[in-house]
């Protein structure tokens, strides 16, 4: 809502020195979101005056037609001589009154004006358009003024070019502030000044000879006022003051009847509609649409109506969507000049509608037809039903005043009884909500200021004013008191929070994982969870794979990516691709986040019950809510490309490899205190020979390794890109092992090396497992330090060299004891994996 200060001052006698910024600060404190104060004409400087065009010479030798004019500007130029002005516009004739800016003036921009040579003439100033004066963005030529103004009259004052305009973002609960009346009320309270309420005007009582109106749905339309004015001059135009106020409020002047309805709406907040009476067939009827009915609205669009739409109809059918937009058929006709007689033909009899509609009905229709009109915006937020008659009266008065019409005596006022809604609150409730003592007297006074009637002592029975449909609950009344007493005056205290237990194990684990992976050289990313078929195709994930069963969005940002991720890899690989594309070619990324998995085809999935809100849902209902949701486990993933250790003076580069991906999984498992077992596996999108299955016990929890070359090619990734992905929920399902304090033996260690030859297909993990079992309790640690393939070990074989460390808790081991343990280890390896001792 844009509110010109000059207009606002009509309703409250503000101190003259108050600036827009002062008022802004006051209103913000009272809870109006005043986003800014526009300074109209701040850099404008005269002379800017009314001129009368005396002569026009058409210059035709240029690309576009140009006019060289002589304009009478009275004495404004100091000489009284006509001013010579070159003008590119063509919407004026000799004798017209125009707005002339003279040399020495400054137009908004700032744009200083001087006499200048142009189109072979000297132009002593300019004839101005609305846009050049900062009045609006109309493109249709220069301003032609009504004829009654004298040449030389100051146009800055005439056009009210200097003003301040408050720009207020009105929240959903303050519909009444979508009017000068509402903002003025807030300002009056803020300044402690009286308000001149524009709705307090004399209105004749309803009678039976006004326009015929039938309301078939009184629940949706509890008030319908109709008035009529005859003898309206179709040639009459909106006066400049009205046009200017409408412009400053952010709307466009259109025609007199429309301008008047808009003006009254801005002033009182009551949307009005004006009908050409000759185009209405019979009684005006308010009813719901029947499905399939059609209406061409004012914007020229043919709309198919929904049976929930509330309509204004006549005998011919719908003539408007109530409170949203009128129909084209009953529109006020454009004034047309008869070329032979010069007579102006158009609408001469007007019916004014001032009605009150149920907010929800209007909101739904406006949304359904995508018509967020000024009227709908107000009805949605709640309009004062008691202002209907005054608003209609105001429109009638203006039609009489400005368009020479005559008000008809008939006053139609269809009223459905509305229950009076009162709220009982303890007089000290605002104190208890705020944490500050206001006292009963202040509470009552503040509630009365916003328009409530208040009775009672300890318990107050409060009836909110008709323009505040938002005041329904005790806390709404508390807010009124507290905001008017000033949120800035609230004390600052701290509650006594019971002792807490800090983060949960799962939360601390995610932190440890983040720190561990980042310390290992990986960079965390947070990717959007949106994926499409293309990336699953690229990864080579086949139909039937559970990762193909996605949760889909009805309104995705991109139709290429309508699904939620079932794996972290698409996002991670996308980020990898982006980094490599931007020149960061050596890169390791990780992400911790949820994926969305659909298991099975439970009928409850995606079917959340619509529960009431006036009671707690039952445990069963809560379970139904949860059953409607897909599984959303936490995962951790990582991707690697390029070098882990770049080439440098220390030696050659070392690439990130499948082993780093497996190591990242171990890092996560270590952080979780879980023992991870690695087994050879084959799983899309990993390289079939370089894929590790990651297990906790017999539970598969994820995969790591090098990606399949086909996936790498399809997704345009660097060669040998590696990846890891783990399900954190599965990883930690068994809980973390509690670390046992180790017993530290101070006896010396006995070290023995052993090299074993095994078939190439034998897995290191199996050899190690055999050695450990065979070596028995004396084995402290075991480490593979070399893998060798070559002639000396034979084709299809490999040699694995291990360093074994033996130690006893209670004695120094003898060489024989250590050798015996080693031999037993070798024997076990021979039995289990056919290992033979090398050389």
């Amino acid at each position: 809502m844009r509110v010109p200060l000059s207009w606002l001052r009509e309703y409250v006698d503000l101190p003259t020195g108050e600036t827009g910024r002062d008022i802004q600060a006051k209103l913000i404190r009272a809870g109006l979101e005043v986003e800014g104060v526009e300074q109209l004409g701040a850099d404008l400087k005269g002379p800017l005056v009314v001129g009368q065009v005396l002569a026009i010479e058409e210059l035709t030798e240029f690309k576009k037609p140009i006019r060289y004019c002589q304009v009478d500007v009275g004495d404004a130029n100091g000489t009284g001589e006509p001013q010579n002005i070159v003008c590119g516009a063509r919407n004026f004739a000799v004798g017209d009154k125009v707005v002339v800016v003279l040399p020495g003036a400054v137009l908004p921009g700032p744009f200083p004006i001087a006499a200048r040579a142009t189109y072979g003439k000297t132009s002593e100033g300019m004839i101005c358009s609305a846009r050049e004066l900062g009045m609006g963005d109309e493109h249709d030529g220069i301003i032609v003024l009504p004829p009654e103004y004298e040449p030389g009259t100051d146009a800055i004052e005439l056009l009210e070019l200097v003003d301040e305009v408050l720009d207020i973002a009105v929240t959903a609960d303050r519909g009444y502030c979508l009017s000068l009346r509402g903002v003025a009320r807030e300002m009056a309270i803020a300044y402690g000044l009286p308000l001149r309420d524009p709705a307090l005007i004399d209105v004749p009582p309803a009678n039976s000879y006004g326009p015929l109106v039938k309301v078939e749905d009184p629940a949706a339309c509890d008030r319908f006022v109709a008035r009529s004015v005859v003898g309206v001059d179709p040639a009459a135009k909106s006066p400049i003051w009205m046009q200017r106020r409408i412009q400053k409020a952010g709307m466009r002047p259109i025609s007199l009847a429309v301008d008047i309805t808009n003006y009254v709406m801005l002033e009182m907040g009551q949307p009005l509609h004006a009908y050409d009476r000759h185009r209405i067939d019979g009684a005006i009827t308010v009813r719901r649409a029947t499905a399939g009915e059609k209406l061409r609205t004012l914007d020229g669009v043919e709309r198919t109506l929904d049976n929930e739409d509330l309509l204004i109809c006549d005998n011919s059918g719908p003539i408007g969507i109530a409170g949203v937009m009128g129909g084209a058929g009953t529109e006020i006709a454009d004034a047309v000049v008869d070329p032979e007689t010069g007579e102006v033909n158009g609408t001469t009899e007007i019916v004014i509608e001032a009605a009150h509609f149920a907010p929800v009905s209007i909101a739904r229709s406006a949304r359904r037809h995508k018509l967020p009109s000024e009227a709908a915006k107000r009805f949605e937020r709640g309009v004062d039903p008691e202002a209907t008659k005054a608003a209609a009266q105001r429109a009638v008065d203006l039609l009489v005043l400005v368009a020479g019409g005559t008000a008809e005596a008939g006053v139609t006022d269809v009223v459905a009884p509305r229950p009076v809604h009162s709220i009982s609150i303890a007089a000290d409730l605002p104190d208890r909500v705020a944490g500050q003592e206001y006292g009963r007297e202040t509470v009552v006074r503040r509630l009365q200021e916003v328009g409530c009637t208040v009775v009672g002592t300890d318990v107050l029975v409060v009836t909110p004013p008709t323009w505040r449909p938002d005041l329904t609950d005790p806390n709404d009344l508390c807010e009124e008191v507290i905001r008017l007493e000033g949120y800035e005056n609230l004390p600052s205290t701290l509650p006594n929070v019971p002792a807490g237990r800090g983060l949960t194990d799962a939360q601390r684990l995610r932190r440890r994982i983040g720190v561990a992976l980042a310390s290992a050289g990986q960079v965390e990313v947070q990717n959007y969870p949106f994926i499409g078929e293309a990336v699953l195709d690229g990864l080579g994930i086949e139909a039937g794979d559970p990762r193909r069963v996605t949760v889909q969005l009805a309104n995705p940002i991109s139709h290429e990516e309508p699904s939620l991720r079932t794996t972290l890899l698409p996002g991670l690989l996308g980020a990898l691709h982006r980094n490599v594309g931007r020149g960061s070619t050596d890169v390791a990324l990780f992400e911790l986040g949820r994926v969305f998995r659909v298991d099975g085809t439970a009928e409850t999935l995606y079917r959340a019950p619509r529960l009431p809100v006036d009671r707690r849902p039952t445990e069963d209902e809560i379970a139904q809510l949860d059953a409607a949701l897909p599984r959303q486990p936490y995962r951790v993933g990582a991707v690697f490309a390029g070098s882990r250790d770049p080439q440098g003076w220390w030696g050659k580069a070392q690439a990130w490899t499948w082993a780093d991906a497996v190591e990242a999984a171990r890092t996560v498992a270590d952080a979780a205190g879980v023992e991870l077992t690695v087994r050879q596996d084959q799983h899309t999108p990993w390289h079939p020979g370089r894929c590790a299955g990651l297990y906790v016990g017999e539970q598969l929890v994820g995969h790591a390794g090098e990606l399949h070359p086909r996936a790498i090619k399809a997704l345009n990734l660097p060669e040998r890109t590696c990846a890891m992905e783990l399900d954190l929920d599965l990883l930690t399902a068994g809980g973390a092992a509690k670390a046992e304090g180790p017993k530290i033996s101070t006896f010396p260690v006995a070290t023995q090396d052993v090299a074993l030859i095994v078939d190439d297909a034998v897995k290191a993990a199996d050899v190690e497992s055999a050695l450990r079992t065979g070596a028995g309790e004396l084995l402290e640690s075991l480490r593979l330090f070399d893998v060798y393939r070559g002639e000396s070990v034979g084709e299809g074989k490999k040699s694995l060299a291990y360093a074994l460390r033996f130690r006893a808790a209670d004695r120094t081991l003898t060489a024989d004891e250590a050798s015996a343990a080693r031999e037993s280890a070798v024997a076990e390896a021979a039995t289990r994996v056919g290992a033979t001792l090398r050389g």
Partner: protein
């Protein structure tokens, strides 16, 4: 070697003449002094103190002397050998020190050589910022609550007093699931607050709910369809708006330094009543840029205040929907976007940098924020 000769007069043994011994001694000392490195010293040592050195030979001659002469000769030879050994030791210490010094010089390296071998990692500032907030509130006694990102509408909207016709429940603001009934991508973490209230048999409930939320906006310099929020909920007996204000003041002082406080401005949210918009004192200019064109402040656009988010007293209707008696309990809540806070706290100009995962953006933030 001479055979023992019992009648030998000491003065007649050439090698044991006092002047001869002194000469041998001086020769040895001179040879050591002349040695310029440890190898030369070793040669000199062998020559002058070895088994075949003149002094060693002289020493052996003592045995052949008559007993009367032995003591005298032995004393003289012993003194000479002592002096020689001392000189040798001193020279060795000196030469070793020289050698050590030389080796250290030779072993010098260019310590300015770059050693950028270890890959550098980092945590995302959105993560660490949320952690920082969690730490502030867990220190106060709050717990951290989490919940699903795909959420039932009742938990995301209805229970929060956002009825079926609330404008946020349109496809312009909310991601809906396809072919689903009343399931959405959560638009705030408030559903977690509701879950916390439902889970508690009875207040008090003090929780902070960080998490990812979704609104159907396009990504641009200031908007992202996926962002992170932190919301707080406190429900207990006798909680007031003053408690809300104090909690906010404590939070901004923890994050932005002593003396930074908040202000509340009336606003409207369905889930709180009274509701407020919360601003904090600009931590850069502390308000000194206001009306001071010479010292403009980019962080607050010289407004002196920075908008943080929304807050208020929990609407009693929300408590009713969770089965909590609004006559006995009251509560307060607030919420804000972490991206926005990150942007003004760390001078991040473009939202896209936060969401695109470029390592150059994330690395400077390190492990904590």
């Amino acid at each position: 070697m001479s055979a023992p000769n019992k009648s030998y007069d000491p003065v007649e043994v050439e090698a044991l003449k006092p002047e001869e011994i002194e000469r041998l001694r001086d020769e040895a000392i001179a040879a050591f002094a002349a040695a310029t490195d440890l190898d030369a010293l070793h040669e000199a040592k062998v020559a002058h103190t070895g088994d075949r050195s003149p002094l060693a030979l002289a020493n052996r001659e003592i045995g052949a002397l008559p007993p009367a002469a032995k003591a005298d000769a032995g004393k003289r030879v012993g003194a000479a050998r002592g002096a020689v050994n001392k000189a040798l030791a001193e020279r060795r210490v000196a030469l070793e020190a020289e050698r050590d010094a030389r080796v250290l010089v030779e072993e010098a390296v260019d310590v300015t050589l770059p050693y950028d071998r270890a890959p550098r990692g980092g945590r995302h500032p959105l993560t660490t910022f949320a952690e920082r907030l969690m730490d502030v509130f867990t220190a106060m006694g709050y717990s951290v609550a989490e919940g699903p990102e795909v959420e039932a509408e009742w938990l995301n909207f209805d229970a929060l007093n956002m009825g079926p016709d609330h404008p946020a429940r349109s496809t312009q603001d909310t991601f809906f699931l396809k072919d689903a009934d009343s399931v959405v991508l959560r638009t705030h973490t408030s559903g977690v607050q509701i879950r916390s209230l439902l889970a508690a048999a009875e207040p008090p409930v003090y929780v902070i709910c960080p998490g990812r939320v979704f609104r159907s906006d396009e990504l641009d310099a200031t908007h992202t369809p996926v962002f992170n929020q932190v919301e707080l909920l406190a429900v207990d007996e006798g909680l007031t708006m003053a408690d809300l204000k104090g909690t906010l003041d404590h939070m901004v002082a923890s994050l932005f330094g002593e003396g930074i406080s908040t202000r509340l401005r009336p606003n409207y949210f369905p889930f709180t009543e009274p509701s407020a918009e919360m601003d904090m004192v600009c931590f850069v200019c502390r308000g000194e840029s206001v009306g001071n064109p010479d010292r403009p402040c980019r962080t607050c656009s010289s407004e002196g205040w920075i908008e943080l988010g929304g807050c208020g007293m929990v609407n009693p209707r929300v408590l009713v929907a969770c089965g909590i008696d609004p006559n006995k309990y009251s509560g307060f809540a607030f919420g804000f976007g972490i991206e926005r806070m990150l942007m003004f706290r760390h001078n991040v100009e473009d939202m896209r940098d936060i969401v695109e995962g470029d390592v150059r953006f994330t690395l400077p933030f390190g492990m904590e924020i």
